[in-house]
């Protein structure tokens, strides 16, 4: 009887891609291994996965969230080491950093995909209003003002109701340009910089400028609302994650493009958030470890990487293989890797493992500054206070 591998995942959006493309492709070379993709709604994923792992009923392959959540699983013995698996050498250390122990000695998940932040825009609207793609922040603000004055489009589609949107599409999107990407991120971890430093306050100040250009009622606007506003052609600019490409491809009936986060006036280097987002690990309690390893190994191949990246435009394979992308907007996003420095979201590694988690605080304060209920300084102080309350290097 053929072995069956069960994949735990929160990506229930991808069920069709797995079932129709990835698994059939895998079975071409490995017909004896059955694979079943068993996703859970994202909101329940962590809780249900933990429960199943504790009781020993979880699937063989586990889709890993980046950093601490997975590190915890590894520390508790639920994930195996996968350094030795054939093909792991195809990944850079940066790619692996999201699923490694703090000292970098052990990797426990295969880096599957990253997402890149930036802005998408309605090309037709820009043409109509005669707008140029903004390169710097002042240009960006001018564009926003122009759209607002003209009045037929909402300048930018983003809401603060879902909180994470403000932090992820806002703070983490434009922030790296202020704190110089990896450099600033590492300094924060090392305790050499503080969130109350000027560059962080500037991010918040910049975010605070967004408020007036978000659509009417943005405070109650949820993420799907934002997507819909843009895809229905009612907003000109959309602070994006690359994963939105697929959605807009299927939903928008106008041409759209993307531009990287604008830099502060006078800054020449640009930084993008090229965030490691999805990994794949092996359940230590799996009865089919061999087969699971085979699958993980297959996932490291160029074939698998290309398949994934094209099936899911906006999720970019992290391996070193040269991958041909077909989607034009995805290509644009990936192209920024060549012109700008990559970094990952600064709150994700280490800094969110205590209570309060920096990530959660950033959600909260980003919303605060955009909504105008907090000043930039207050926001920075609040986030810093939360972090230093438990994080030794920051005390």
């Amino acid at each position: 009887q053929a072995e069956e591998l069960v994949i735990e995942s929160w990506r229930n959006d991808d069920i069709d891609i797995w079932n129709k493309q990835i698994i059939p492709a895998f079975n071409k070379s490995h017909p004896d291994v059955q694979v079943r993709f068993a996703p859970t709604p994202p909101a329940d994923y962590n809780a249900s996965l933990n429960a199943k792992l504790a009781a020993g009923t979880a699937g063989d392959l586990i889709t890993c969230r980046p950093f601490d959540v997975s590190l915890d699983l590894y520390n508790q013995g639920h994930l195996t080491k996968i350094d030795a698996i054939e093909g792991m050498e195809n990944f850079s250390d940066v790619a692996k950093s999201a699923w490694q122990t703090d000292d970098g000695s052990t990797t426990f998940c295969l880096p599957m995909a990253s997402v890149i932040h930036g802005f998408m825009y309605n090309k037709e609207a820009f043409k109509e209003l005669g707008l140029e793609i903004p390169k710097t922040i002042p240009e960006f603000m001018k564009v926003l003002a122009a759209i607002k004055d003209e009045g037929s489009y909402a300048p930018m589609s983003m809401g603060t109701a879902d909180q994470w949107e403000a932090a992820t599409m806002g703070f983490q999107n434009v922030g790296p340009n202020f704190w110089n990407g990896e450099e600033g991120r590492k300094a924060l971890i090392a305790g050499e910089e503080k969130l109350t430093d000027a560059q962080y306050i500037k991010v918040f100040e910049h975010l605070a400028e967004w408020g007036p250009y978000l659509g009417k009622g943005y405070k109650a606007q949820s993420y799907p609302d934002s997507q819909n506003l843009f895809s229905l052609g009612r907003a000109a600019i959309y602070p994006a994650g690359s994963w939105d490409i697929a959605t807009f491809n299927s939903q928008a009936d106008f041409e759209f493009g993307a531009f990287p986060p604008p830099v502060p006036e006078g800054q020449s280097t640009c930084y993008i958030s090229d965030h490691t987002d999805i990994g794949l690990g092996i359940n230590a309690a799996s009865k089919n470890v061999k087969a699971a390893e085979t699958f993980v190994s297959w996932m490291t191949t160029a074939e698998a990487g290309e398949l994934m990246s094209n099936a899911l435009p906006g999720f970019f394979a992290l391996s070193n293989h040269k991958i041909n992308l077909t989607d034009p907007v995805a290509k644009e996003f990936v192209g920024w890797r060549d012109t700008c420095e990559s970094t990952i979201r600064n709150s994700y590694q280490i800094l969110s493992r205590g209570t309060p988690s920096l990530e959660n605080d950033l959600w909260n304060v980003s919303v605060g500054v955009i909504n105008g209920t907090m000043t930039a300084t207050e926001a920075a102080e609040k986030a810093q206070a939360g972090l230093s309350s438990w994080y030794k290097p920051q005390q």
């Binding site: 229930n12 959006d13 994202p42 329940d44 009923t57 799907p224 997507q227």
Partner: protein
């Protein structure tokens, strides 16, 4: 009574109709939006589906992409079985607590009420371990057991109150007739608390039908998935397929509505009329 024949009924109906509108408007919105294309949902959520906007894509997706018939069957069997256990066992315990004044009865009552005070989700991990050790993982039995345990406290709490209102003379008459306690319970108490049983049934069935959590961890398999678990694939991380969600939820209301209608026929007035002077 007779007042409600002249101006009364109009006022009463006016009040009820206005509340019904409040209750129903959002639901109607759901139902007719489920027949519209995604664009139309957001362009003009208030308008009825017309030739341009009418779109069954949601229903096609739901019915086409998954084994909804199996899910329905699973959901219905789990709901009905749990209900049966909750009602019978709950009524039995409620009767014991309401009728017999044994030492520690207050304690038992309080003990049985704890279940409504803590979310059972809290105990998920232990529960899952127990189910695994019983070899019941991925079975509907596991769900039935958990839902029964989850429904009992509320059922007992409510039924006890209603059982206490049954005229003593009736039980006493039966005792004089030499009827066993079991039969008093079965032939007299149960029929007389029908409205309360129906109410409890409805309250028990709704969370069971709508629950996602326990199917997810106790019985996530293809053969054992419930409707709610089936629907969850349309509620993703970033993209929410509202057409499909609306369609599947519209579909999922139907069986529970039918169950509700069955139970609500038990809400009969004057059940004890004629019993005692």
């Amino acid at each position: 009574m007779r007042t409600s024949r002249r101006f009364g009924p109009l006022a009463v109906h006016a009040l009820l109709i206005s509340y019904t509108i409040i209750a129903l408007f959002p639901i109607l919105l759901i139902i007719f939006n489920s027949f519209k294309s995604r664009k139309a949902i957001f362009k003009s959520p208030l308008s009825l589906p017309d030739a341009n906007t009418f779109d069954l894509v949601g229903f096609e997706k739901v019915l086409g992409s998954s084994s909804f018939d199996v899910y329905f069957l699973n959901s219905i069997s789990v709901t009905v079985m749990s209900l049966a256990f909750v009602l019978v066992l709950g009524a039995m315990a409620a009767w014991a607590l309401a009728e017999y004044d044994f030492p520690g009865s207050d304690f038992v009552a309080l003990f049985l009420a704890i279940g409504i005070m803590i979310p059972i989700r809290l105990g998920s991990v232990s529960l899952l371990k127990i189910i695994v050790s019983l070899g019941l993982i991925n079975t509907l039995t596991a769900l039935v057991l958990v839902y029964t345990a989850q429904g009992l406290p509320l059922a007992i709490f409510i039924l006890r109150e209603f059982i206490a209102q049954i005229p003593n003379d009736l039980k006493e008459a039966a005792r004089c007739d030499g009827v066993s306690e079991y039969r008093i319970f079965w032939s007299i108490i149960l029929p007389l608390i029908r409205p309360a049983l129906a109410t409890v049934a409805v309250f028990t069935m709704i969370p069971v039908w709508n629950d996602l959590w326990f199917p997810l961890i106790l019985a996530p398999g293809e053969d054992t998935a419930t409707v709610t678990l089936g629907i969850q694939q349309f509620i993703g991380q970033y993209v929410t397929d509202w057409n499909a969600v609306l369609a599947s939820l519209t579909l999922a209301i139907v069986p529970i509505l039918v169950l509700y209608l069955i139970f609500s026929r038990q809400l009969i007035r004057g059940l004890t009329a004629g019993a005692v002077k």
